[in-house]
């Protein structure tokens, strides 16, 4: 009995030895910085310097002024619609690869992730080269004597296309990984029992893969909500999103405290979104058996 206790103690020690270094690293370089901007968000900036003068003015500015609310709203609409389009497009693609990819499925799904080898800026510029006023699409239309498609030039639609382009690989990967562990024979059982394909999808495939799908939605929503590069190059005059004014506080204006408060607001909105998505997850309905990993 005593030796068993000792062994147990020993394993706990080894577990801590292996997992604590990374956890401490994340605590110091991720969580403490996030707490620090929470503190600074209640301070004040005066000529590029932070002053520890506690107030909530930064938050009343963000939540009280119409301009800031407009940016939040615009980013929210953008993030929700981009996530939706990615979801609707990525699902059938991931399904096809997971179910019928055979031995090529890993290569097929990695091919959707390979564009990450090229940096975000270069890919956004490439999209700009294609959609912009002197871009490929417009010049081609002109060469054929057709009208240019104005809605694709420096607009929120162009930003949305750029953001879908950047983040759809996350959605494909998340749904694909979920479908990999999905037992497709369950569908055969449903068909044998007379279920139509759409009903089998709604009642079996969708709920059993909802966790993976939800992770995909969150992984697209967050970078889209915080986007600043894409709207800058594709969005045009009225295309600035929340990320752009956030970025602005740390650049030209140097209003650190207001910027920190905007960062906190960004974090909270993402957190609320995650909570909403989390509440839709029903572990029993998702086939969760209590086993981790």
């Amino acid at each position: 009995m005593k030796s068993l206790w000792k062994w147990r103690q020993n394993n706990d020690f080894r577990f801590a030895l292996l997992t604590l270094p990374g956890a401490l690293f994340l605590l110091i370089f991720l969580i403490l910085p996030l707490i620090s901007i929470l503190i600074f968000s209640f301070w004040r900036t005066e000529s590029y310097e932070l002053i520890a003068d506690w107030n909530i003015e930064n938050y009343t500015t963000i939540l009280g002024e119409k301009t800031y609310l407009t940016f939040i709203w615009r980013s929210l609409v953008m993030a929700v619609s981009v996530s939706l389009v990615c979801l609707i497009y990525a699902y059938p693609v991931a399904y096809l690869v997971a179910k019928r990819g055979g031995r090529y499925r890993l290569i097929l799904v990695l091919l959707t992730a390979a564009p990450f080898f090229t940096g975000i800026i270069l890919r956004v510029t490439a999209i700009q080269q294609i959609l912009g006023p002197i871009g490929l699409l417009n010049m081609a239309l002109q060469a054929f004597g057709l009208e240019p498609i104005r809605i694709l030039m420096y607009s929120n639609v162009a930003s949305a296309i750029g953001l879908i382009y950047l983040w759809i690989p996350f959605m494909v990967l998340a749904i694909y990984l979920s479908l990999l562990n999905f037992n497709f024979q369950l569908l055969e059982v449903a068909y044998v029992n007379g279920a139509k394909p759409w009903r089998a999808f709604v009642e079996i495939t969708w709920p059993l893969n909802w966790i993976g799908t939800a992770i995909g939605i969150v992984l697209v929503f967050i970078p889209t909500f915080a986007a600043f590069v894409t709207p800058r190059f594709l969005g045009g005059v009225n295309g600035a999103l929340y990320g752009n004014i956030l970025e602005h506080q740390f650049g030209a204006t140097g209003t650190w405290a207001l910027g920190s408060a905007m960062g906190v607001v960004l974090f909270l909105i993402c957190l609320i979104f995650i909570m909403i998505v989390w509440r839709t997850i029903n572990l029993q309905r998702s086939g969760y058996t209590g086993e981790e990993f």
Binding site: L18, T19, L96, I127, I168, P223
Partner: protein
């Protein structure tokens, strides 16, 4: 299995169409800028007037070279740190059944759910105002490692879940200490996933703008130079740089493929 009916065939055809269109959508812009990097008339490159001038100019631009070098340092440093933390965490989490494993798994995956720009600005504020560190390459490596750690952790975890822990038990039965067991049994088996994790974190940190831009101060990296020059309009030299990087990555993948095909490199023992 039920027979494949015409309806199901139509569904598969639609899905295949969507997949092909997705590849075109994802790769067309990349191939387009590689193509543009070889032509003189970059605005409307048809018919092409081929030129090497962007490559020649790139060769002359010393700030670009410094940027590539700095990005390389950030990528390598982040990759190494992220792999060490992620590999040890993944092994610890799967090998030792602890009641804390759920909490640690959530912690290790949490950076995935924090926007990059938020990691960037919070690192900037924390390093500058609390630690008193000036922005430099090491602070950029530290900030990038948080996010890269999650991706590295996922990649290593994916292979480790299929790892046969009985091999470790066998080694222990024959008297191997945990450290020796790691070097002689676990590592030789899981090294492909560690290499994959290194590549993923290297590439993420190499290309990163939203974290690096805020944590590096005034030191140039490839993405921050690109971000700066793009404000004044596109410089075709950037395209030639992208073409070179894509070419290199493609070259490395081809070499890896042939090494595996020729059996010179084996991607680890896969169990029964």
């Amino acid at each position: 299995m039920t027979a494949v009916g015409p309806r199901e065939r139509a569904v598969v055809a639609t899905q295949t169409g969507l997949l092909i269109f997705l590849y075109i959508f994802l790769y067309f812009p990349i191939f387009f800028i590689i193509y543009v990097s070889f032509v003189d008339n970059t605005v409307w490159p048809f018919p092409p007037e081929f030129t090497w001038q962007w490559y020649a100019r790139l060769w002359m631009m010393s700030d670009f070279h410094l940027g590539v070098f700095n990005s390389f340092l950030i990528g390598a440093g982040t990759g190494a740190l992220a792999c060490i933390f992620a590999a040890s965490a993944a092994i610890g989490l799967l090998k030792y059944q602890s009641r804390w494993r759920g909490l640690f798994a959530v912690l290790y995956l949490s950076p995935l759910f924090v926007a990059g720009i938020l990691i960037g600005i919070s690192s900037l504020m924390f390093h500058r105002n609390i630690l008193g560190l000036p922005g430099n390459i090491s602070s950029a490596i530290l900030a990038n490692t948080t996010q890269a750690l999650s991706f590295a952790f996922l990649v290593i975890l994916a292979q480790l879940t299929r790892y046969d822990w009985r091999m470790d038990e066998a080694a222990m039965v024959f008297g191997a200490r945990p450290a020796r067991c790691f070097w002689e049994v676990t590592l030789p088996t899981i090294w492909p996933s560690i290499l994959g994790a290194f590549l993923v974190s290297f590439i993420l940190a190499f290309n990163n703008l939203d974290i690096t831009f805020y944590s590096i101060g005034a030191i140039p990296t490839l993405p921050t130079i690109a971000w700066g020059t793009l404000r004044h309009g596109i410089e075709p030299e950037l395209y030639s740089l992208a073409a070179i990087i894509n070419g290199l990555v493609f070259f490395i993948l081809i070499i890896l493929f042939f090494l595996i095909r020729l059996g010179l490199v084996r991607l680890g023992y896969r169990g029964q």
